[in-house]
Subunit: 470 residues, 2 copies
């Protein structure tokens, strides 16, 4: 890793050159680099924590002066029990994941001795811009190397010293490996971001990890593809048939378990006929957790009188803006809808296409919702907080994408890959085929070494074999 103040064009060019070498390393060579980084960061713990204390000291001064929030200061602290060890374990976890590149994902026999293959490969050079938390650098570096991508990293300025210490350790560790050190470049000053965003010749994908403001700035400032999400306005549609205890369990988890998360619930849609049956108990449970309810007229009327024990400030009339807003706090907007169709219309218009859920016992209603809601993740009878790479079984995630192309929802290693097509032939040429020439065979071939039953006879064979063993 280079800790650099070089000009953005040079940084991006060097990363591109490094990426070419990284892309052809073996799984073992990339994993060996992760082991080396893990060992070096374990050995260098005291050095990193000393630098981190410097960042904390400065951050505390800013917090005292009111220019930094206390919660941000907390997130900077690498010295909290277990945090450093979690960071180290994260590197080993990524190393243990299946190699996402050089996998053949499709094969077609075009003609005799003429085989088309689709092979996964790295995207190339990633530009990752993230906010304060210093441990992210280790995680992102591990994901980049594992997926064969070079990465230019720009961290939050509050972690300046921690980043510098970690970067210098990683840099030394990489010298003992086959991964060129230019493959990971840490950019320290904020003013180079604008120039980096112009390097679309050398940077293939930009991943901003942070708040709405950062993501919008990045999207508006570059022609490099951007992967991520700006808002996390998640909704849940509560149908009248859904059992109240399960509804409470799901909605409280979705709203309360981590209100600052992008997958936290921001809007509850309630079927009209549930206003006086299920809603009061759900509202009571939320109010007891300190959640403010911003209700439309119908739901407010239904709840008024029933929940008077609670402070009036917790039960308010919703404004129009409340249905297009990410609260990231113990606040929820409540809206009454007549049907699943109205719920779908509202979700497709007002959610941020991140994660939306329906709670119902009616399979047909649920299928209508799952099919029609145009979001990265759509759930039936569970909490929007499930949207997370680790929970999806990806090991870890680079972020959550609300993009409509490439990768959608939690993005793991697979989202950092693309593919190339290869053809291996024996001097067949295009002009031999077509109208008056040879016909294409276009026969699908098995991929890798897995064996798929190719016809009903073989499927029956497998079924009988399994039945015999069961």
């Amino acid at each position: 890793m280079s800790l650099t103040n070089a000009i953005p064009l040079e940084v991006a060019k060097a990363a591109r050159v490094g990426s070419r070498q990284l892309a052809v390393l073996t799984t073992e060579e990339r994993n060996a680099a992760l082991s080396a980084i893990h060992k070096a960061l374990a050995d260098g713990k005291e050095e990193v924590l000393a630098a981190n204390r410097q960042d904390l000291e400065e951050a505390n001064k800013h917090a005292a002066g009111g220019t930094l929030s206390a919660s941000l200061v907390k997130r900077l602290d690498l010295g909290k029990p277990g945090k450093y060890e979690d960071m180290l374990q994260g590197i080993l976890d990524v190393s243990d994941l299946e190699d996402p590149i050089n996998k053949t994902t499709a094969r077609t026999l075009l003609d005799d001795n003429l085989i088309l293959s689709r092979i996964t490969c790295p995207i190339g050079v990633l530009l990752i811009i993230f906010e304060a938390r210093p441990e992210v650098i280790a995680n992102i570096s591990a994901l980049a190397i594992k997926s064969g991508n070079a990465a230019i990293l720009k961290g939050g300025r509050e972690s300046y010293h921690s980043f510098a210490a970690i970067a210098s350790i990683i840099s030394k560790a990489l010298e003992t490996t086959k991964v060129p050190s230019d493959c990971l470049q840490l950019v320290q000053t904020h003013d180079v971001i604008a120039d980096l965003l112009k390097q679309d010749t050398y940077i293939d994908l930009c991943i901003p990890r942070g708040g709405n403001k950062l993501v919008r700035y990045v999207k508006d400032s570059t022609s490099i593809p951007v992967l991520g999400h700006a808002d996390g306005i998640c909704t849940t549609y509560l149908c009248a048939d859904y059992p109240v205890e399960k509804a409470i369990k799901i909605i409280v988890d979705a709203k309360v378990s981590y209100p600052a998360g992008c997958n936290a619930l921001e809007q509850l849609l309630v079927e009209e006929s549930a206003l006086t049956t299920t809603l009061p108990a759900v509202a009571e449970a939320l109010l007891q957790k300190g959640v403010s309810l911003r209700c439309d007229a119908a739901s407010l009327t239904a709840l008024k009188g029933k929940l008077d024990a609670h402070s009036a400030t917790l039960l308010q009339e919703a404004g129009d803006k409340d249905f297009d807003f990410e609260f990231l706090d113990l606040i929820i907007a409540v809206k009454t809808v007549k049907s699943v169709e109205e719920a779908i219309e509202h979700v497709n218009t007002h959610s941020s296409h991140h994660t939306d859920a329906i709670l119902t016992l009616n399979a047909q209603t649920a299928q209508t919702f799952l099919a029609a809601v145009d979001s990265s993740s759509v759930y039936w009878n569970t909490s929007t907080r499930m949207a997370d790479g680790q929970r999806y079984g990806f090991g870890t995630e680079v972020g959550i994408s609300t993009n409509k192309i490439h990768s959608r929802g939690p993005v793991g290693l697979e989202g950092l890959t693309i593919y190339k097509w290869t053809i291996v032939g024996d001097a067949q040429v295009s002009a031999e085929y077509g109208a008056s020439g040879k016909a294409w065979k276009h026969e699908k071939l098995p991929v890798g070494d897995e064996m798929v039953a190719q016809n009903e006879e073989e499927r029956e064979l497998l079924r009988k074999f399994r039945a015999g063993k069961a």
Copy 2:
């Protein structure tokens, strides 16, 4: 289909609304729309050809005045024998392709009764900008409907009347189907493009089909993701060990069979030791086809004296620009390289990452090239002209992408889809899992109804069965 002069914001909004309805139609409903379009265009042939003659008349005037090329006029002509029928057949071909949406491509058991699925779905709204050929509108409309995407189409102004006639016929045909007519909108005036490119709230993907200038303009003018390629600078590396007859066959096909194609060969890299062995015969074959060779010093020296029978204008010294230029003509740049490493370096720096090939009998050299060349398609012992959706077995293509994300190489129906994640559960919530809670199962489940041998025992069973039948 609406033929519209409406303001771009309204066009894009209406397409978005239509796309929501189109996305939930069944395979049969979408195919029925394709049948209706096919029938209507077959019935309306005379009407379309009359409009096309009007375009041709105007184009011929422009051609006579020197403001339009004769080859463009030729491409406008829908009345050429077989062309209209090919257009009609194309619609049926798309209808016959496998439905690319609503396919489950991954399933994971997160926990008992908690299943994560990845399901393919349409991208949403496509903006497709294409140049003259009027038959493209039918092909693109078919691809959009088949893949469940709404499309806003802007064709070349030279086809104004043909487009209008086709659009009006398609519009009437759609009225008898479940596909909302707002799903296909034809934009007629050039001046709305700039405004359409700003509608990133309603348009999900932009596909420019045309020359370098159009593609660069679109890429520079929008924050909507753009799929396509600007240049097609394809290269081929000829190794000294490759048989001369096969080399001639491949290189002549790549350069001569359709020089205006984006997959045509523009640069020949020659291994130094092949300069006096294979190159002269290859050069002779190209010269006989009227190809001009722009040679670096070493290859020029090797060829001078041997090919004097040909005009000196066909054998020239290359300028620096010739190795970064798409000739689209009977011209080829020739460069000498010492090794496969130098060839890879040249290709990664100077090709447009579209399609590049190596010709060699040495498997190790070929594998090095296939692995290290960072292009959409990389070939061993075949012609770059193979890069084409129909040849790859996709049925048809929307275009060829040199993007590093989403879809790379020839893009068929699959490239017009994305996926959503669904979870179906029974009130499990996120807070139940993790550190001190329940463990995730993360068990991969079979996808769809295909049967994959799940262990070595089952693989052995299939192997024996196949051996017994062989």
